[in-house]
């Protein structure tokens, strides 16, 4: 009661201390949640693809996987499928084709050449409507089936069952057209807003002129059990016929690549943590010391009345912790409001985050860390005051110059 009474006695000072802690900690929470959100989303999205290993052209870093190609894709795929413990392998070839939008303009879109029966074992491309096409359905004008992402369907004004025409420019300055029947609509787990399409691997190789060399971009591998990861990787790097033309990465290694970039942001945030924590310490300790000096006589009287000095000092510490707790609770409220507001601005005006991804992510350990930081700020700020009361006699306190 005495403690809470002190909080009410000087409302402006109480509000200042609590708000200072709340604002400073909420900056820290939102920054930490931003980097946690990026890490968390990266892991979620990579896991969403449902692969254990990925085979890329030799020397390709995971995040540059779309810029390079390798040849003899089908032969590679066949050999990989024969490896023990491989449940599925999905070869893909990425090319860029042009499609006419509903406004009459052309747009260039990524088109993945895939093997539908293999791609079904992975979860990057999620069918929302319709079904995967079957290859080789060449019947006059409509050559084959295609799946279009929801965003591309919206952009082109097409729907499932319609025909989509892809354009490929020719060296002579014109273009060739290839029609496909849209058999389904899907979303890409890695890029929910992506305007993209899926067609048969062989068809894409033929229309882009790389069938002869059987060019592909990557092969996703799913194992019967994760524990075989090292065995399969060892086979691929040591016994695989095409071992000199490939690089193998695990899901974890791709995540580590993303984390390397998030770490840069994390380290930068340290400067801000340091500044905000120092500011809170200065403000908390200054106002708290002013408060204590003003109550010097009162605390001296309490001591004379029989309350031990140790109890008075503990009360001072408890008062500080009470301030910091109130600040922490307010910080949680403020940071959540800020993060929600900022996320909705991003989602509304900039980009739609894929399902499972989040811009900010607050984990329990991080929340606990900031809770402890608040306690630490309170202790460091109030400890000098508490020690002061431990050292002084009641007479010294009462005689002390009033401030």
């Amino acid at each position: 009661m005495y403690l809470t009474g002190n909080l009410k006695r000087r409302p402006l000072r109480t509000v200042t201390i609590i708000l200072t802690i709340a604002l400073a900690i909420s900056i820290n929470i939102s920054l930490s949640s931003l980097s946690s959100g990026l890490s968390y989303s990266a892991r979620e999205l990579i896991e969403d693809v449902g692969m254990d290993l990925i085979v890329l052209p030799r020397g390709t870093a995971p995040l540059l996987m779309e810029l390079t190609t390798m040849d003899w894709g089908h032969r590679m795929w066949e050999e990989i499928m024969e490896i023990e413990h491989v449940e599925a392998a999905a070869p893909r070839y990425l090319s860029y084709l042009f499609v006419r939008c509903s406004d009459g303009n052309f747009t260039e879109v990524p088109v993945y050449g895939i093997m539908p029966e293999m791609e079904m074992k992975f979860t990057q491309f999620r069918i929302k409507e319709g079904f995967y096409f079957t290859s080789g359905n060449d019947s006059g004008e409509v050559r084959d089936g295609a799946l279009l992402s929801s965003a591309l369907l919206k952009k082109t004004g097409l729907g499932v069952g319609d025909a989509v025409v892809f354009h490929i420019p020719t060296p002579e300055g014109g273009w060739r057209e290839f029609s496909f029947q849209i058999t389904g609509e899907y979303t890409d787990a890695l890029n929910e807003d992506g305007k993209e399409a899926l067609i048969s691997l062989t068809t894409l190789q033929v229309i882009t002129g790389v069938r002869e060399k059987d060019t592909i971009s990557e092969i996703l591998i799913k194992l019967t059990d994760e524990r075989w990861e090292e065995d399969v990787r060892e086979y691929l790097t040591q016994q695989f016929t095409y071992r000199d033309s490939i690089t193998v990465y695990s899901e974890e290694e791709i995540y580590e690549e993303v984390q390397r970039i998030v770490d840069i942001l994390d380290n930068f945030s340290l400067i801000i943590y340091l500044l905000t924590t120092t500011i809170s310490l200065i403000i908390f300790s200054t106002i708290f010391i002013i408060n204590l000096l003003e109550r010097r006589e009162e605390l001296g009287v309490l001591n004379i009345l029989g309350i031990p000095r140790r109890a008075i000092a503990s009360g001072v510490l408890a008062e500080g912790i009470l301030y910091s707790m109130a600040g922490f609770v307010l910080a949680l409220v403020l940071s959540n409001a800020f993060m929600r507001g900022f996320s909705s601005i991003v989602q509304k005006y900039y980009w739609k985050l894929p399902e499972g991804a989040t811009l900010f992510y607050s984990s329990l350990p991080a929340t606990l860390y900031f809770f402890l930081l608040c306690i630490a700020i309170a202790l460091v700020s109030t400890l000098p005051g508490a020690l002061y009361y431990l050292k002084k006699t009641p007479v010294e306190l009462i005689r002390g110059e009033s401030v």
Binding site: L64, G173, F268, L275, I279, I287, I290, F342, I345
Partner: protein, 420 residues
């Protein structure tokens, strides 16, 4: 009028000034990062050597017949020069290491016309400072239908020179989807790559070769299926005539005519790049402004509280001043100017500290990303923006303790100091 009463509590004033200064440092740092990201990108875009870039949406080398298309565009009377360029990733075996390199394919005689007198070339905002150049200015390998003379000339990134001891005349083998090809180093150029940081995990450096030789190396010259010439490139750099550049309306009309002639490709002008940059950096600006506003509020709230405590604790002094004839205006100015003085001095010190903080942030990002561009700029505009936030908020918040001081009752002159 004297401000001395305020400074009777020296340690308190110092603590307040330090807290306000640190919150100003935070504001200045956040704003300088946001300024740098936007302004350095804008500066690079503005320095771009081309007026118009005809390209595809992705780094896809999606324009076939690049040489012919470029010639066709060059024949337009509004165009001074147009040249095709290609981009590709290739790997080089240097010193036993397999180095992934990013390559640019150019026609030297044409790209030279896009370079400044100092040998600086900006391709789509990417700076290249070229010290030595190709001897062969044409593209002879293409001239012979991709069977012509192979020059093998290559310009390398300075980073590779320093790190791997490569010299003019050194031989280097590059491999790409088109096979393995030999080149001889004919010079060096510097880019924003430092050879370290996170970028070095992806590319260790850059190189520049004749366009057709890069096309051959990266399988962009001939169709892999039937061997016919496809001559794929990433874009066509276009420099328009002085007359057209100065006439905005005519320039826009020319850009639109290019869009109509080549509907598959993107026609990117400087204005469009700025618009894109604005969209990209708006989010950074919103985020940094929010953090700045919160941190400014923290520091200024503290200043408000301390000023209020001062007014309350020095209430007797103020009453005496009033009793001996000080007007409300005098009291107002004394309290208000004191708080603004603390704010102003703290802000000035913050500028000095932020200068070093901005330098540290810059060095940190350059070393951790491996790209040598500005990441924090502390200029007059940043200082002014931060000052406006501080002065605006401070001026409003400090009215509260000031009015409390003005309204202090003279009757209480005999009363003990008021507690609040």
């Amino acid at each position: 009028m004297s401000l001395s009463w305020l400074f009777l509590k020296g340690r308190r004033v110092v603590a307040t000034s330090v807290a306000v200064m640190l919150s100003a440092v935070l504001v200045l740092s956040m704003l300088s990062v946001s300024e740098a990201l936007e302004k350095s990108a804008e500066k690079r875009e503005r320095a771009s050597s081309e007026d118009i870039l005809l390209t595809t949406a992705y780094l896809s080398n999606g324009i076939p017949g690049g040489h012919a298309l470029s010639e066709e565009i060059s024949s337009d009377s509004n165009v001074t020069v147009a040249t095709p360029i290609s981009l590709a990733i290739a790997s080089a075996l240097v010193g036993g290491e397999d180095l992934p390199l990013v390559g640019v394919g150019v026609i030297p005689g044409e790209i030279e016309k896009f370079m400044g007198e100092d040998g600086v070339l900006f391709i789509s905002g990417q700076k290249m400072e070229i010290s030595d150049f190709f001897e062969e200015k044409g593209d002879p390998y293409f001239a012979g239908g991709y069977k012509g003379r192979w020059t093998g000339e290559i310009l390398l990134d300075e980073v590779l020179k320093g790190k791997y001891g490569l010299r003019k005349g050194s031989r280097i083998e590059l491999s790409g989807p088109g096979g393995r090809m030999n080149f001889t180093v004919s010079g060096f150029f510097s880019t924003t790559l430092t050879g370290g940081g996170v970028v070095s995990y992806y590319v260790k450096g850059a190189f520049m070769v004749h366009l057709s030789e890069l096309q051959a190396l990266s399988g962009l010259a001939l169709s892999p299926d039937n061997g016919t010439v496809v001559d794929r490139c990433w874009g066509i750099l276009i420099k328009v005539s002085e007359k057209l550049r100065e006439d905005n309306e005519a320039f826009e009309s020319f850009a639109s005519s290019l869009k109509a002639r080549y509907p598959l490709y993107k026609v990117i002008t400087l204005q469009e790049r700025f618009k894109r940059l604005d969209e990209q950096y708006n989010l950074v600006k919103v985020y940094s402004f929010s953090i700045s506003f919160i941190s400014a509020s923290v520091g200024l709230l503290f200043l408000l509280a301390i000023m209020y405590i001062n007014v309350q604790q020095k209430g007797q002094l103020l009453r005496v001043l009033k009793a001996i004839g000080a007007s409300n205006r005098d009291i107002f100015l004394e309290v208000y100017l004191s708080s603004l003085l603390i704010l102003f001095v703290s802000f000035l010190s913050a500028i000095l500290v932020s200068y070093f903080v901005a330098g540290y942030i810059n060095d940190y990002f350059v070393s951790s990303t491996g790209i040598d561009v500005s990441y924090a700029i502390l200029n007059t505009s940043v200082a002014l923006k931060a000052f406006l936030i501080f002065a605006g908020l401070g001026a409003v918040l400090n009215l509260y303790p000031t009015f409390k001081a003005v309204r202090i009752k003279l009757e209480g002159v005999r009363a003990p100091p008021e507690r609040w």
